[in-house]
């Protein structure tokens, strides 16, 4: 069926819940309200005893998810906006990510934390952030950010079945931006596998989330042969796909919305340095958010990468 990102995620939750009775949902307003973005719409009605509106407490949501998982359930928790995951950082960084190691594998924490991410919807403060680096930086957590409905469904099913904690960020800007064919049958997309969206020989652009579409727009009509990699999973990173591509093209631009300093681009550049430095024909460019707090709507657009900035970087790399 044709589905947007919201519907694809809903489908994945629904299918996993119907198949596996240990999957439960918890979060703020995810029950009768169906979540503020309606991602869990209809699931409370269908699985009343497995969908829980929690008290307003993110540390509580994640902390109890850990306990639920320790005792055999598979909680998929929703944090209403990425900006409100912060009270739960302690539980994620001090516990969810470490329990397997601490217990030498006796215990594990197969939880999924779903949360919208990113800007572009002209929202209030704390509703437009891109905090993925905190999680990517934390050993023991996996981090997924889909760029399209088809991938979202397959990746979320993999995340739910994964034996370790997965942070599943949903780019809110494209929640309803477009629909595509999403099979009703069950399928998975492995975590840790990037997707080559478009093949090319002159330049590799590496991006993820809502910036895949923007990048496609930016390269439209350009005279270069451009390869575009959608990372899909930020941790573990698909190093092989990155290195194979950059070794071939010798040029690379990385695009993300998160602030520049220690954003994912920094890590990717380091990896390319380690594994493919001698193939490079130009310094790698990164197009990112600035090192600042995401502005309120009036100035938000200035913060964001955009097709112009992407094009400029492409030209810079191509004409080095």
């Amino acid at each position: 069926m044709k589905a947007n990102l919201v519907q694809a995620i809903n489908m994945a939750l629904n299918q996993e819940m119907s198949k596996d009775k240990s999957v439960i949902l918890l979060g703020e307003d995810i029950g009768i309200d169906g979540g503020v973005f309606r991602v869990t719409e209809g699931l409370y009605q269908k699985y009343k005893d497995r969908v829980f509106d929690t008290p307003l407490a993110e540390s509580g949501i994640v902390g109890t998810s850990i306990g639920l998982a320790l005792n055999g359930l598979k909680p998929v928790a929703e944090i209403q906006f990425e900006g409100f995951i912060m009270p739960a950082l302690d539980q994620l960084i001090s516990h969810a990510s470490r329990i397997r190691n601490r217990s030498r594998g006796a215990f594990s924490v197969p939880i999924v934390i779903r949360s919208p991410i990113g800007g572009g919807i002209h929202a209030l403060e704390h509703h437009s952030d891109s905090p993925e680096t905190y999680f990517v930086h934390t050993p023991g957590l996996k981090v997924v950010i889909p760029s399209r409905p088809y991938d979202a469904k397959g990746l979320l099913i993999s995340a739910i079945r994964d034996p370790d904690p997965v942070i599943f960020f949903e780019p809110k800007k494209i929640y309803r931006a477009f629909k595509e064919e999403v099979p009703e049958k069950e399928y998975t997309i492995p975590l840790g596998k990037a997707n080559i969206i478009q093949e090319g020989d002159d330049l590799t652009i590496i991006t993820y989330g809502s910036w895949v579409r923007e990048t496609l727009k930016a390269v439209e009509g350009l005279k270069y042969s451009i390869e575009i990699i959608d990372l899909r999973t930020l941790k573990p990173l698909d190093v092989k796909t990155i290195i194979d591509s950059v070794s071939r093209t010798g040029r690379c631009v990385i695009v993300h919305e998160a602030p520049k300093t220690l954003g994912l681009a920094a890590e990717i550049i380091a990896i390319i340095n380690e594994k493919a430095l001698l193939s490079l024909q130009a310094p790698i460019e990164r197009v990112t958010g600035y090192d600042t707090i995401v502005p309120l709507p009036k100035l938000e657009d200035y913060y964001m990468p955009n097709t112009e900035r992407i094009k400029k970087s492409i030209e810079k790399v191509m004409n080095f």
Partner: protein, 351 residues
């Protein structure tokens, strides 16, 4: 040794002005006719602000906005009991408190339009900025009040938050700190009975929010939040208590009559019948009935207020919309006191 009761607790409920506008004279706080009229006017002003803001939002001239409809008495009654020097930490629905404090309307609106400059004047009116992450700011209030105590200032600190916020750990830490360090702090919980779609019955199993104070060795009271006199009196008493180093938790029992914000649709989770019941408990109507019996209200007076506040709002909206756009470099200018080399470079790039 037999088991025995070693502690006993009671929670009071204060209500002075009933739905028909009749006040209990024994409980009535000392308020001049002028005070009463001023409170009424501030409540009206808050209501008119709210209506205009909602309209602006619908027209695409304002961003997401959280309505204060029905909570005017809880806000005005409490804030009216404070001195100008007392400092306030609001959450995000406290229009009434900002207006009472004299926050420039055009600036407050500009904030909701998505312009950080709109928050600049908060400091001048002894209030903190809007805080969006629920429940986090009560700790700031505790710290602010703690500093007042250390510096031997006589001012009191007040923080506003919702029923949902009482589920966050920070709320409990703030109460504990306030009580342990004898901080001159007043916690005002506007229990409007919903946190977005979650009713207070699913938020907590405590019979009252007020009783949460007991666990921290604090005084807690439940107050009719739609009764401006009860709100005033309980806050006034809390100020006295705060000055002796005893914080208070006031639960203002009220109702959020609008959607949670302009992004919400409350029809999904609550029914019209409930809503209608609370329409009848309107705090402004209630005070008006009282004023009529005291001959403090006339139709002309009401019309004059409507005219005045509508004009004031229209003026402010015009001003807000004619403000020149902020400079794009502003997105980097306020990250630190001084731009570091990295940000200087990014500023060049932004040009």
């Amino acid at each position: 040794m037999p088991k025995k009761i070693i502690q006993n607790f009671n929670i009071e409920f204060l209500s002075i002005l009933d739905e028909n506008g009749k006040a209990d004279s024994k409980l009535m706080p000392k308020l001049s006719n002028n005070d009463i009229k001023l409170m009424y006017e501030l409540m009206k002003k808050t209501r008119i602000f709210d209506e205009k803001a909602l309209k602006l939002q619908r027209e695409g001239r304002l961003g997401t906005y959280a309505s204060s409809l029905g909570q005017e008495a809880a806000q005005i009654g409490s804030a009216y009991a404070l001195d100008k020097e007392d400092f306030i930490f609001p959450s995000f629905r406290e229009q009434g408190v900002y207006l009472l404090r004299g926050m420039p309307i055009d600036q407050y609106l500009a904030y909701w339009r998505g312009d950080e400059r709109g928050m600049y004047s908060t400091k001048k009116v002894n209030m903190f900025t809007v805080t969006i992450p629920v429940g986090t700011h009560m700790l700031h209030a505790a710290g602010f009040g703690w500093a007042s105590k250390i510096k031997k200032e006589s001012r009191v600190v007040v923080t506003y938050f919702g029923d949902g916020a009482t589920s966050e750990g920070d709320f409990h830490e703030a109460m504990n700190f306030a009580s342990v360090f004898e901080i001159p702090l007043i916690f005002i919980c506007q229990n409007n009975q919903y946190a977005i779609s979650v009713p207070v019955s699913k938020q907590t199993k405590s019979a009252t929010i007020a009783q949460k104070a007991i666990a921290y060795g604090m005084y807690g009271i439940k107050v009719d939040g739609n009764d401006v006199f009860a709100m005033y009196k309980s806050t006034k008493e809390a100020v006295e208590r705060a000055k002796k180093g005893k914080p208070t938790l006031i639960e203002a029992f009220t109702y959020r009559r609008n959607d949670h914000t302009t992004s919400d649709d409350a029809k999904k989770y609550r029914n019209d019948k409930e809503l209608k019941q609370w329409d009848k408990k309107d705090p402004i109507e209630r005070l008006k009935k009282y004023m009529i019996t005291k001959k403090l209200w006339t139709k002309e007076y009401e019309e004059e207020l409507d005219r005045k506040f509508n004009d004031e709002m229209d003026e402010a909206i015009k001003k807000m919309e004619s403000i020149e756009d902020p400079k794009k470099e502003d997105i980097l200018n306020y990250v630190y006191a001084e731009l570091d080399e990295n940000l200087k470079e990014q500023k060049e790039e932004l040009k």
